[in-house]
Amino acid sequence: MSGFLDVLVGVMIVIGSLFAVVASVGLLRFPDLYTRMHAASKAGTLGSGLMLLALALEAPHLDIFTRAVAGVVFFLLTAPVSAHLLARAAYLTGVKPVPETEPDDYSRAIGVTRSDPEGER
């Protein structure tokens, strides 16, 4: 049983770090801030959450397990909040998305005209 748990923890750690690497590659190669935010706040949170869950599975006591799971829940709650705040602040201060971002509804919602204001619906 302990051997199976060791194998499970190892696989979860490697998968989590692979998610972190994929998120950082996306952070490096995506064209603008908003697509980079996809990579960082989804895959990055999933990677570190998986690694914390692996540490929770390996812990011998219930209090350590509870703390690790509480940490995962805390990250899952705070990552969308901070990403939303940063995206909203960046958009309102004029960081433009790439022109391929075709239906830009938020620009009409706040009354900002972009370079191509003929967006259909």
């Binding site: 490096l28 690694m51 350590i64 705070t78 990552a79 901070s82 705040l85 940063l86 602040a89």
Partner: protein, 110 residues
């Protein structure tokens, strides 16, 4: 190969991948075009650091590292929120309009 040896190899592979991830995020921090890109990369750096702490906790067996990871997550969240408010007030700092951030009229656009 026993299960504990497999776990040791997995920990080493995972640490190597996380170091690669740190390097890529640092490249984005250095050449982020806007200030918000750098803030986003710093947030991602904190998140990857939490994963690194978790892997170190699995490797060494010191479960006190979980508390450090939770505290680092809290500080990272608050830092990102504070940076987002800073961006909201001052705009792109490298864009040349940072002079009004340090003046007395920074409260008028609140």
């Amino acid at each position: 190969m026993s299960a504990s040896e497999f776990l040791e190899i997995c920990v080493l592979i995972s640490l190597a991948l996380l170091v690669l991830s740190f390097a890529l995020i640092t490249i984005r921090i250095v050449r982020g075009p806007t200030f918000a890109d750098r803030v986003l990369a710093l947030d991602m750096l904190v998140s990857t650091g939490i994963g690194f702490i978790a892997v170190i906790g699995v490797k060494t067996g010191f479960y006190l590292y979980i508390d450090i990871a939770i505290a680092l997550g809290l500080v990272g969240f608050l830092a990102t929120v504070a940076f987002a408010r800073f961006v909201m007030h001052c705009g792109d700092v490298l864009g040349g309009e940072s002079a009004m951030c340090y003046g007395s009229d920074s409260e008028k656009q609140r």
